[in-house]
């Protein structure tokens, strides 16, 4: 009985306290919830509206924007995948981003490690060379880059694989353009790691290379994960570079394909397939984001917080 009474008193005083605070913070509490809900609607509704339109017929799309489809036209997705080549473009994006991210992480972590851990003459110069790329606008170099890649096509033996309109060519460009952030972030990360473990391994006769791959790289895992996420998303969403470097349709990546369906508007425009294509581009991101949202938020904001 006593215990119930005591806890009851505590609860009342807590309730009073809360009421008191609420009074001070005023009706703004309601308004703030309203503001948050309004932004939620602003974010969610355009995306849901697109999903809805993706199962509408052509006539319904040109009718009332908010009408519901009479029957669900799943065939829109088949046309988007086949005729609008979204399947091909998605596959191209997957190929390019897999290799370019892998390459970026391998080459970038090697450079970052050496620059962070091995003092030598010129170290600082190399580091600044990489990091200065963070401030350079890619548009300045657009035309020369086009010709650099074109000239790569004339290199003996390798040429046909790394010139214009090749995925390998685009992958190399992605890797190079991802260096500034990757080196900047990972060098800072490698500097924070303890040196003792690596030194002990060296005493035991491990080579520099082995220390890097078997000891330092696993220790740097959190940093590697963040930068990998950053690079995967950045390269997946890239539009400008493929627009310049891949001009043959069958080589296009997903962003080019999506942009093209809408800009090439004509009498034979397939609008319902456009919405289906948009949905096909958004849904996988939504799924991946829902699963990895914590890591993705951390990975993307990591650069700004350093």
């Amino acid at each position: 009985m006593t215990t119930t009474m005591t806890s009851g008193t505590v609860a009342t005083s807590r309730g009073e306290e809360r009421r008191e605070r609420r009074r001070r913070l005023g009706p703004l509490g309601v308004l703030s919830h309203m503001a948050l809900l309004v932004w939620t609607v602003l974010v969610v509704v355009p995306i849901l509206w697109t999903f809805l339109a993706s199962v509408k017929s052509e006539d319904e799309i040109f009718g009332d924007a908010w009408s519901l489809p009479e029957t669900l036209h799943w065939d829109n997705f088949a046309r988007a995948w086949e005729q609008a080549h979204i399947g091909q473009y998605t596959l191209n994006s997957v190929i390019v981003v897999s290799f370019s991210t892998l390459g970026t992480m391998l080459v970038g972590s090697m450079a970052a490690y050496v620059l962070a851990r091995y003092p030598f003459r010129g170290n600082r110069a190399f580091y600044l060379l990489f990091v200065s790329g963070l401030a350079l606008p890619v548009y300045l170099a657009l035309s020369p880059l086009f010709f650099v890649v074109q000239n790569m096509g004339n290199v003996p033996v390798l040429g046909p694989f790394i010139g214009l309109n090749t995925h390998a060519g685009l992958i190399l460009v992605y890797i190079a353009h991802s260096m500034p952030f990757t080196v900047f972030f990972l060098a800072a990360f490698f500097r924070t790691l303890p040196t003792a473990v690596g030194e002990a391994a060296m005493v035991d006769g491990a080579s520099h290379t082995r220390v890097f791959f078997q000891i330092m790289l696993p220790m740097a895992r959190p940093g590697i994960v963040s930068v990998t996420i950053f690079n995967v998303l950045g390269q997946w969403n890239q539009y400008q570079l493929p627009l310049v470097l891949l001009q043959e349709r069958d080589k296009w990546v997903l962003t080019q394909g999506i942009a093209d369906i809408s800009t090439a508007a004509g009498y034979d425009q397939d609008w319902s397939a456009l919405f289906a294509a948009l949905t096909l581009a958004i849904l996988p991101m939504l799924v991946v984001y829902t699963i990895f949202q914590r890591q993705i938020q951390a990975g993307l904001t990591a650069g700004a917080l350093k």
Partner: protein
């Protein structure tokens, strides 16, 4: 010992060879070439471009479209950071501090809000551009104009009216950016000791003073980082304009930006020399912005 040093040198060289080579070939050399090409009349077909000095630069001074683009970038440079930061700060404050329970936590469901707000950030700009092109349709089939027309209001030419199109571009950029900065500011707020908010509340601080006297000053460093990021975003904007607007920066060049004009001159008109000159000008704008923001932030830091 000598062997050890040899091995060390070999290791450094081996590890730096690939990244440095790629970086020099695909990043540094194009940037250097751009400065040279900017002084030529190169149109891509002639094998030997001829040197024309500063002719491209004198020409661009009277290029009305380019200056229109510069003005749009300048407007974005002011408005995009301002709007995004104000909105994001407001939401971050509500989600982390402004909740009813004594500044210890944000409003209920704050985690879910953060997850939703951040989502546009992971979408490709090109995808967002196509999405909003449909949202902004000029007739009753548009997501926004449909309800407006149902209410008997004249449809708005979000992308077809030259007076409105720029604001549509700005709106979409803010739409996509806000969530990122809500998360960024939330992370900044999380590092502020909770006692500060509690102490202020015990002393009778309301939401307003909590925000302006505690949150804002302590977040100032993060706000500056956000300002620089958004400034760079405003100077570099390309895909949203190129994909979403009519005629790639239209109607009537009312939304065009520097990057779009560079791309148009290089790859639609094949004026590589002139496009590079525009790029050089853009480079100096970016460097100028970087220097100014570094200066300003240094001064702020001394004040604190």
């Amino acid at each position: 010992m000598l062997f050890q040093r040899y091995r060390r040198g070999l290791f450094i060289t081996a590890f730096l060879a690939a990244p440095v080579t790629l970086y020099l070939v695909y990043v540094i050399s194009p940037y250097i070439q751009a400065f040279y090409i900017a002084t030529t009349d190169w149109r891509g077909v002639s094998a030997t471009p001829s040197f024309i000095g500063f002719e491209n630069f004198t020409r661009l001074f009277s290029d009305g479209i380019f200056w229109k683009a510069v003005r749009h970038n300048a407007a974005l440079l002011v408005l995009l950071p301002l709007l995004t930061i104000v909105i994001a700060l407001f939401f971050a404050f509500l989600l982390n501090v402004g909740g009813g329970s004594g500044g210890r936590e944000g409003v209920r469901g704050s985690k879910l809000y953060r997850v939703i707000f951040f989502f546009p950030q992971v979408l490709a700009v090109a995808v967002v551009a196509v999405l909003f092109q449909q949202v902004f349709r000029p007739d009753g089939s548009g997501m926004l104009n449909g309800p407006l027309m149902a209410l008997g209001i004249e449809p708005i030419g979000f992308l077809s009216n030259p007076g409105v199109a720029f604001w549509s571009v700005l709106g979409v950029m803010v739409w996509q950016a806000v969530g990122f900065y809500v998360v960024l500011f939330s992370a900044g707020l999380a590092s502020i000791p909770r006692d500060m908010f509690e102490a202020a509340q015990i002393d009778g601080a309301g939401r307003g003073s909590l925000f302006f006297r505690i949150t804002l000053p302590l977040l100032w460093d993060t706000v500056q980082v956000a300002w620089v990021y958004l400034g760079i975003l405003a100077l570099d904007v390309f895909a949203i304009v190129w994909v979403m607007t009519d005629q790639h920066g239209g109607p009537d060049f009312s939304t065009t930006v520097m990057a779009a004009e560079i791309y148009r001159n290089a790859f639609s008109y094949f004026r590589f020399g002139y496009a590079s000159a525009l790029g050089v000008v853009m480079f100096f704008f970016t460097v100028g912005f970087a220097i100014i923001s570094l200066r300003l932030s240094r001064r702020e830091r001394i004040e604190y």
